[in-house]
Amino acid sequence: MTCHCSRREFLVRGLYGVGVGSGLPLLLGRTTAALTAQALQGTSMEKHPERILVVLELSGGNDGLNTVVPHADPAYYRARPRIGIPAKEVLKVTDTFGFHPSMVGFERLYKDGRMAVVHGCGYDHPSLSHFSSMSYWHTGVPNAGEPLGWLGRVADDHLDPKTRNLIVDIGTAQSLAVRSERHSPLVFDDPARFRRDGTDAEKQVLAQFGSDAAASSNATLDFLTSTARNAASSSDFVRQASAAYRTPVDYGIGNAFGGGLQRVAALIAAGMKTRLYYVSYQGNAFDTHVQQGDVHARLLMYTADAVRAFLDDVARLGRAGDVAVMMFTEFGRRVEENGSLGTDHGTAGPMFLFGARDRIKAGFYGRPASLTDLDDGNLKMTTDFRSVYATAIKEWLGYDDTDVILKGRFGTLGAFA
């Protein structure tokens, strides 16, 4: 039979004759975890153990049409007479598409051959709710109650849970995208404050919280003690790496987002073993219902500045060839502008991939969504976003079982060399 199982499943099945599916009760998942970790040891099947994937989230529903502007399409200007980006201002990179004028950083990345744009990304039966749609992008399983994040499942299936901090999420709260059954993602916002305060005697007592790992009858208490253990073992490294980091690269003034990427660069520079990084905008920043022109321009500028700086920074560190970036949003916006110089929630939008010139095949992928053949005023998606996930998983990270991780078969784009 063809095995649609993950490598972990395969190993466990081979060794113990028992399959471990992802819909398993957590209890059982844990009991097999120890066995699996043993099985993983000494069986290095990683094609690219040095490769890092950084995922960037533009929360709030980025207006894709004003980001990657179809400057040769009259339908665009008909739908957006007041907020459309005039063709003469667009940073044109092809005869038909170009970037918002504030995205000078992206124009440079594109022209340097370090960037791929995927047209029309979305999914069937799209939800126009921020929260539902974002959870679909986070889990990679639209219109279902999947409890784990897609990056969490990548880690569950391929990364050894005995190695700490293989997933890092920069933020004040953990994203569903990194929720994992076997890994505890390291989540922090300000590395300088990632520490226990106190005298040496106090710290000595504080350091042992949770050291006796005996499970209690209170699952929430167990969750807290295991988090305390993780914090105690990781905080010094992260804090020192971040404090020591100096870079001449200018990340611009979009502090939170650029700052997050700079923290990632600091950890890469310090040799952190993290394979999956997650950085997001806070508070639905891209939800531009009203007067979107200025605020959207500013957000795009911060974004382009930060991504361009980050890629330059990792190149400076000599790690350009090991780092790829993927950027997404939970939906694009309505094709037609609304009455308040803004746009309402929509469906498909572009996704972005970045990497070193000799790693990524720069250019545009997928078919542009039609601006005239619409579904109730919204774009019909042309690329299932999970094809882009599959591309990152298979072509970049080198894991072939994308259909297990993504719970469905999705082709890849051929975007990585």
């Binding site: 009760p25 209890l27 305390a228 001449p248």
Partner: protein, 593 residues
């Protein structure tokens, strides 16, 4: 076939593993039982649990008062709070930052500039004569003043509310207001008008234990919400769906019970519902009086019809009751409890008091899965600690807003319209450490090194002032970065004004015109506290702190480590006691209520 066999095998295996623990009915006898607990089952622990959840906890004396009552009396004492005189609480004292020229406040800096170009003035400030250098600078300065002053005033509002939570005689009133603030989440970062935020807060408090309909109508006519969800822009010709969608998805029914068409028809019904600065306004010219079909009802519906149609749905009672349950009881709600609470909530005409009374009296509320299983929100964590310390005024060193903000919760600024996700989402490795550290800042507060955030200018802007003082011109003084980033080049590209200089000026003006938050450290006396409790040995002090502050038993290993830590220290030393209390408040278990 292979799959099927595997599943069966796994099922058997899971059953075997589960069988190793006692059957749920034996270990969790009261879970999901909504019948009231009897007076015979009432005790100090249960009274403490009630006060933690229906309020912000309290001192052993506060708990004892409730424990001495019957369960019904104790619940009534909290729920029937309108009988309690609370008039001693002070009203918010405004600084008076707003002048008439600032209304309506421009939506963006660029918009203020546009107005100034067209009319020669904006925000009540005139542009300089044509030909002057940076002729729009005063307008942009005023715009940034408005932003900064409003942000400071909103910080003051947060301190005012936190003080209410700490000192109120009606703890459930403030807890409910906090619940509704998260439910009808509205953030000042977008509203940019503390006056609207204050009015909304008062409206939520006024209706907190009343009827859901009054809250819904109140919030749908609330200027802060109308601005937050862009309903001022929801006009006949171009309906804006933000408001109609969140009303259905978040405020009332939850996803899955309505269609996209209902969203659009709902939005049409709310066209013209807008605000004239601080007042609700129905704009007839922008209202769509046409026929709509919403959740099966057809007619020339308006916003109130939409509310009443929503209230007629089963989904509404269940969605809102379940959210209240999750806030006050526990994260998981069983389908049976959900449907029963939803049904009775709807049948009561969506009266809050009977629902709350039933929940707080139920055996389920006192069952094992409901006690010491809730992770405190940052606001509850800080306020309840102050309550347990017996404080009667909110410490402002360290700053309350900064403490809770660092943990992911700022009053008047929820992360988005869905409010705070709560539960385990509060906890990351970093916030868990911070949740301990903040109490060191409280217990060892240092007024000399404290920097008040309401008087703090970010370094970028402070540098502008330093550079100007050194004699640089505005262009030189506002340079930052190496110049690669587009955003750093734009600061001074505009000839008519310099944004970074304006931001610096705005801060200075805001500091001048806002009242400073009075700063003082916690008025805490642990020596007296342990003396009253007759705790005169290391063991006794550790046990007293654990009993007074923790909802879970202290782990034996931690207890031993604390006693060991206190060896050689003295119960008569305030700083020794504070070091010990810091450790107790830093335990993972202290996050639980």
């Amino acid at each position: 076939m292979r799959r099927l066999l595997l599943c069966l095998g796994l099922g058997a295996l899971s059953a075997a593993v589960l069988a190793a623990v006692p059957a749920p009915s034996a270990s969790l006898p009261w879970a999901d039982d909504l019948s009231p607990i009897s007076a015979a089952d009432w005790n100090v622990e249960r009274a403490a649990h009630l006060l933690e959840r229906a309020g912000f906890g309290g001192t052993p004396e506060d708990v004892q008062r409730l424990a001495a009552m019957t369960p019904r009396q104790a619940v009534d004492a909290l729920v029937e709070y309108s009988r309690v005189d609370n008039s001693a609480l002070p009203a918010f004292e405004e600084s008076g930052i707003w002048d008439r020229g600032m209304d309506p406040f421009p939506p963006s800096r660029a918009d203020a500039v546009r107005q100034a170009r067209e009319r020669g003035e904006a925000l009540g400030v005139k542009a300089l004569p044509e030909g002057s250098q940076r002729r729009l600078q005063p307008v942009v300065d005023k715009f940034f003043y408005g932003l900064r002053a409003n942000s400071i005033e909103t910080q003051r509002l947060g301190v005012w509310w936190a003080n209410r939570m700490l000192t109120t005689k009606r703890p459930l009133e403030e807890k409910l207001t906090l619940f509704w603030h998260g439910h009808f989440a509205t953030g000042d970062a977008k509203v940019r008008d503390y006056r609207m935020m204050l009015r909304q807060n008062e409206m939520l408090r006024r209706n907190a234990e009343g009827r859901l309909r009054d809250l819904l109508v109140g919030i749908l006519e609330d200027p802060a919400m109308l601005v937050y969800l862009d309903n001022g822009e929801n006009v006949k010709a171009h309906p804006n769906e933000n408001f109609g969608r969140e009303l259905l998805e978040l405020f009332t029914m939850g996803v899955g019970h309505y269609t996209e068409r209902d969203v659009r028809e709902g939005a049409r019904s709310f066209t013209g519902w807008t605000n004239d600065v601080l007042d609700f306004k129905f704009d007839r010219d922008q209202h769509d009086f046409g026929t709509k079909t919403f959740l099966g009802r057809t007619g020339p519906l308006d916003g109130t019809d939409i509310v009443d149609t929503i209230l007629a749905q089963d989904a509404t009672g269940e969605h809102v009751a379940a959210k209240i349950y999750r806030f006050f009881v526990r994260d998981e709600i069983s389908p049976a409890v959900r449907s029963e609470l939803g049904r009775s909530f709807r049948n009561s005409g969506y009266e809050m008091k009977p629902l709350l009374t039933r929940i707080f009296l139920s055996k389920d509320f006192y069952s094992a899965p409901s006690t010491a299983t809730q992770i405190k929100s940052p606001v509850v964590l800080v306020i309840s600690t102050y309550k347990k310390m017996g404080l009667t005024a909110l410490p402002t060193i360290p700053d309350f807003g900064r403490l809770t903000g660092a943990l992911g919760q700022t009053l008047f600024d929820p992360p988005n319209v869905a409010g705070w996700a709560g539960g385990r989402s509060w906890i990351t490795p970093a916030t868990l450490m911070q949740r301990g550290n903040l109490f060191r800042d409280v217990l060892f507060a240092d007024a000399r090194t404290f920097r008040a955030p309401d008087r703090l200018m970010p370094a970028t802007y402070a540098r502008v002032g330093e550079n100007i003082a050194k004699g640089m011109n505005i262009t030189e003084a506002t340079k930052e970065g190496t110049g690669d980033a587009e955003s750093n080049q734009q600061v001074d590209r505009e000839e008519d004004y310099n944004t970074r200089y304006a931001s610096y000026r705005g801060y200075l003006m805001a500091f001048e015109r806002t009242k400073a938050i009075p700063r003082h450290v916690a008025d805490l006396n642990l020596t007296a506290m342990v003396a009253v409790a007759h705790a005169d040995t290391a063991d006794a002090v550790v046990d007293h702190f654990a009993k007074r502050f923790l909802s879970v038993p202290l782990a034996a290993k931690d207890r031993a480590a604390f006693i060991d830590f206190f060896r050689g220290k003295s119960v008569a030393s305030e700083s020794d006691l504070r070091e010990l209390l810091y450790l107790v408040l830093s335990t993972p278990g202290y996050q639980l209520s």
